[in-house]
Amino acid sequence: MTDATCVASLEQAGFSHDGGAHFVFRHVSLTLTRGEFVAVLGPSGVGKSTLLRVLMGLVQPTEGQVGGVACAAGAVASQAPGRRSRAMVFQDARLLPWRSVLRNVEFGLEGLGLNRAERDRRAREALRLVGLEQEGGRWPRRLSGGQRQRVGVARALTVDPDLLLMDEPFGALDAITRTGLQDELRRIWQQTGKTVLFVTHDIEEALRLATRIIVLAGGSPAHIVGEIEPTEAQRNPETQDFAQCAAQLRALIAH
């Protein structure tokens, strides 16, 4: 199965902490197509973050297959020069406090055979994309929560990944900052054409951002209980369609 538009896939994937006695999730199959913005929606603790880490290659699935670019099963790593196939944004930003903002963004570029000037150039470019081109010399502790998360996004974007994985990146932010960053992420996604997998438990956030919403629920083991591709009208929080779609998603989560 070699589909040029496929970026990553799971085939009947399951994950268990105890070697198969209890599964966090099971029988999960999904295919991510180039340019999609997919939200994985589900209640807290259902295993969304674990699913993301399986796709990232940080943990191995207990059963099933993970597919990389072109989605040939098992072919996770396809590394073009100066790039990484996947990059991740963490819920807690996770910046290294001993590195300046610019050096934090360069973290993923190191070890790719780029010289210092080239790394600097790409890191600055990524900082410009998230509106922090002036802050490269600052220490992370001097930044606000929202700015820190922007740096986290810049660090992930700068390695030019085929797939950008985001683990509830705005979950710890206040409502105003969160809405602002959601709009900005949407803009960045449209500008770069990246494939994004975004994990959240916030129904409205999923609706505002995603082109496709996958609902993970059920518990022990969790599985995909439904999938929605919201229309333009359903994505607009002002409309009746938005409220209806949100209610539909809420029902799916409670499944």
Binding site: M56, M88, R94, L96, W98, R99, R155
Partner: protein
């Protein structure tokens, strides 16, 4: 009640405290409260120091001891930090060495002196060995504790961005993250090193400690105190200089 004093006021108070200390010491000896043949008066220390300088003993002792100190510190700190880092990062190595560490840790530096003489003779190497051992443990535990305290989420971050290998984790996460703890260990070692200099030179390797022992066997208490103060001064200088290194390496900290 916690008061915040300005740094200038604190410096002034410190100097004042020293002045009171030496003043009352001088008075106590002059007034006969302390027997002059057992405790030298501070004002007698100047001439005693000058005599040591004129004879060239003072400069030579400092030069010799600095050599032992620097070399012992370098070897002990490097090995201690290195082994501590490796044990902190590798569970197998950690378990393997746990028994040995428990066995050797309580042995004081002084207890190694007979072996130092046996293995190295009355030489620079012997003194260096004793200093290195006492400094080793401080740095071992400082580095070990610092590595164990590194937030495991940084390792996940490193793995996510292609730095999951041993060397990448060591250089990009472990070393910078545990730097505050490592430097705290190095700093403690700077002081411990000077204390060990005396022990290391007790058995006759020339230096400040040896000179102190010679003087005390002649009951020249003023000369002993001169070298005590010399050591205190050398420690103050090394600690002061280390402050700059620390400030530079930890400039990211608040």
């Amino acid at each position: 009640m916690k008061e915040r004093l300005s740094s200038r006021l604190r410096l002034g108070l410190g100097i004042f405290g020293l002045a009171v200390f030496f003043g009352s010491w001088q008075a106590a000896v002059r007034l006969g409260w302390l027997p002059g043949n057992m405790v030298p008066a501070p004002l007698d220390l100047g001439p005693a120091w000058l005599a040591e300088v004129r004879g060239g003993f003072w400069q030579q002792a400092i030069q010799d001891s600095l050599g032992h100190y620097c070399l012992g510190l370098l070897i002990g700190s490097t090995l201690g930090t290195g082994v501590g880092l490796l044990c902190g990062m590798n569970r197998i190595l950690d378990s393997l060495l746990e028994g040995v560490v428990r066995l050797l840790r309580p042995v004081p530096g002084l207890a190694w002196v007979p072996f130092a003489i046996l293995w190295f003779g009355l030489s620079t190497a012997g003194a260096t060995f004793v200093i290195a051992i006492s400094v080793f443990w401080i740095n071992f535990y400082a580095a070990y504790g610092a590595v164990r305290g590194v937030d495991p989420e940084f390792f996940e971050l490193a793995a996510a961005f292609g730095h999951g290998g041993f060397m990448a984790r060591l250089l990009k996460v472990v070393l910078p993250a545990s730097m505050p703890g490592i430097l705290a260990g190095l700093r403690t070692g700077l002081g411990q090193g000077w204390m060990s200099v005396v022990a290391a030179e007790l058995f006759g390797v020339p230096g400040i400690g040896a000179r102190m022992m010679q003087a005390s066997s002649l009951l020249a208490t003023d000369v002993v105190v001169v070298y005590m103060l010399t050591m205190a001064l050398l420690y103050a200088i090394t600690d002061f200089l280390f402050g700059f290194v620390r400030g530079y390496l930890l400039k990211w900290q608040p």
